[in-house]
């Protein structure tokens, strides 16, 4: 695959890319090859990321910010450079708007905890009975539970967009749902189950009409599509390093500077302060205000290397590659009797995540036989989106999710595996 794809982007060379991921050539117990179709859960890491981390940990490591020696300078420089890289990668208007967290969940909770804090003073973050929070039925638990907890703490009301039968956000009731009582709307940019890419502009227009804030959970979007947060025009975005070739232990909150400035601090501790007395403190400017304690230093540096890698491949090529794989998979799965795709069955506004049920066979059994017999790694269960599964009246689905290193041959292996599963349980 080195053909031109549309728009002047060179298609990615999947063979060369696979060489950067040693695990993809690993032989599993019993001699099975690995077919990794679980990147929506967490992606594999290229040697470039792993080696950057190893090198830093071995020869340049020290704490950041506070240290005034060679290693301190090297670590601080590498850590802050990672912030620059991430900011540029997502088109953030300012590097200071990039807050490093431990994962996307922390980023979502950080924003949720900014509301209804009696110590905060900004009107936009006040919350109590009568105020409303809006999410959707297709959210990941990490974009549901923080808002449930916020509603419990403050007495505010949690409401949600329904999901249509074909797996789209149902905007028909938006006029009632998002209203002058709404303080914040938080929805997925791309669903981790359906693959649906949500119409941000439509939601944003209504959110702006009523003067509320809009947060995007872009955990499944940033790894797979070119990002331009400035153009997106929303208020907050959360995403996570481990799904975009980076290590575990690092996530990102982006927020508009003016809002981050107005928010009360979340976690208190070293590095997030300006001056501390026993009875009061003043806080550092953002992003440090939200980075209490020793940050995930080497993890941020690893994420920076992941961003370098994705830039070198070109996110437009990544997107095009996944689109081709998704088209291929939707076609191939259509041939399997009793298979029902949960989510859009066309390529329109959808990413490379395909969830489905197989009639009469529990997804747990599907996933485990695929793994046992063919080394095909998919995810099975409710994928941390139980309400969405309840909405479709099913306890679980099997999910295949694609990334830049996947091939059509791997989708063929999945299809072969599914036929075998049907034979086993026939």
């Amino acid at each position: 695959m080195t053909a031109q794809v549309s728009g002047g982007v060179t298609a990615l060379d999947v063979d060369r890319i696979r060489n950067d991921f040693p695990v993809l050539s690993r032989e599993l117990p019993g001699g099975r090859p690995l077919v990794y179709l679980d990147s929506g859960n967490s992606s594999q890491k290229p040697v470039q990321v792993v080696e950057t981390m190893r090198e830093h940990l071995s020869m340049h490591y020290s704490n950041v910010g506070r240290a005034m020696h060679v290693l301190g300078a090297e670590s601080t420089e590498a850590y802050e450079n990672a912030r620059d890289k991430v900011a540029a990668f997502v088109g953030a208007p300012s590097r200071d708007e990039i807050v490093f967290t431990k994962n996307a969940s922390e980023a979502l909770n950080l924003v949720a905890y900014a509301f209804g804090n009696p110590a905060g003073s900004d009107e936009r973050f006040r919350m109590g009975p009568g105020d409303e929070i809006v999410i959707s039925e297709m959210e990941h638990h990490s974009n549901i539970v923080p808002w449930q907890l916020l509603a419990q703490r403050t007495g505010a009301t949690l409401r949600w967009f329904p999901v249509t039968d074909d797996g789209r956000l149902d905007l028909s009731g938006i006029g009632d749902l998002v209203n002058e009582r709404t303080k914040i709307v938080s929805i997925a940019h791309q669903s981790n189950v359906l693959g649906t890419v949500n119409p941000v502009a439509d939601v944003l227009a209504r959110v702006r009409d009523v003067g509320a804030l809009l947060m995007l959970d872009a955990s499944q979007a940033v790894p797979h599509h070119p990002a331009d947060f400035a153009a997106l025009g929303v208020d907050f975005v959360a995403f996570t390093g481990h799904k975009m070739l980076g290590p575990s232990g690092i996530g990102v909150l982006w927020g508009r500077r003016e809002l981050l400035d107005a928010m009360p601090p979340f976690l208190g501790g070293g590095e997030m302060i300006e001056a501390v007395w026993m009875d009061r403190s003043t806080y550092a400017p953002v992003p440090h205000k939200f980075e209490a304690g020793t940050p995930p230093i080497v993890e941020a540096i690893g994420l920076g290397a992941a961003v370098d890698y994705l830039n070198a491949v070109d996110m437009r090529a990544v997107e095009a590659h996944e689109r081709a794989l998704t088209a291929y998979a939707l076609d191939a799965l259509r041939e399997i009797p009793g298979l029902r795709v949960i989510g859009p069955t066309t390529l329109e506004s959808r990413g490379g995540t395909v969830s489905f049920t197989l009639e009469g066979i529990h997804p747990h059994d599907v996933g485990q036989i695929l793994d046992d017999s063919f080394g095909v790694a998919v995810r099975v269960g409710h994928h941390c989106a139980r309400p969405l599964h309840l909405r479709f009246g099913i306890p679980a689905t099997t999910r295949a999710s694609f990334y830049l290193y996947n091939t059509t041959g791997e989708i063929d292996a999945l299809v072969r595996g599914l036929h075998y599963v049907q034979k086993v349980f026939a």
């Binding site: 099975r32 997804p363 485990q368 046992d372």
Partner: protein
Amino acid sequence: MIAESMYQELILEHYKHPQGRGLREPYDAEVHHVNPTCGDEITMRVKLGDGGKVEDVSYDGQGCSISQAAASVLHELASGSTVEETLGVVEEFTRLMQGRGQVEPDEDVLGDAVAFAGVAKFPARVKCALLAWMAYKDALVRSTT
């Protein structure tokens, strides 16, 4: 299929041909357990006899092959045994399942249930395997009090 596979023939056999499935009368206690994370369900009845004998374990449920086969294996092991003996098996089975793949199963105690050893490595599946067994334990408590 590889050696340490979770899908031992035995599990599939029990799944396809469940032993003692169906709810029967008479019974001393009936319980209904649900695994909220994956939606697996089981209804279980226990009938005890003289001398701590387990006369019948009847059940109905839905879910993955692991959860359903576990109920079938349990039925075989428990019926005709004594409460005390079966509690020993339940205990050993629980230890195996919660051992994260690091516990050597005691085959003498477990019998056929040893086929579930491979499940222990998958925390998300452990609950499937344990569902029927926890329901049984619960039903025993309710039968004897």
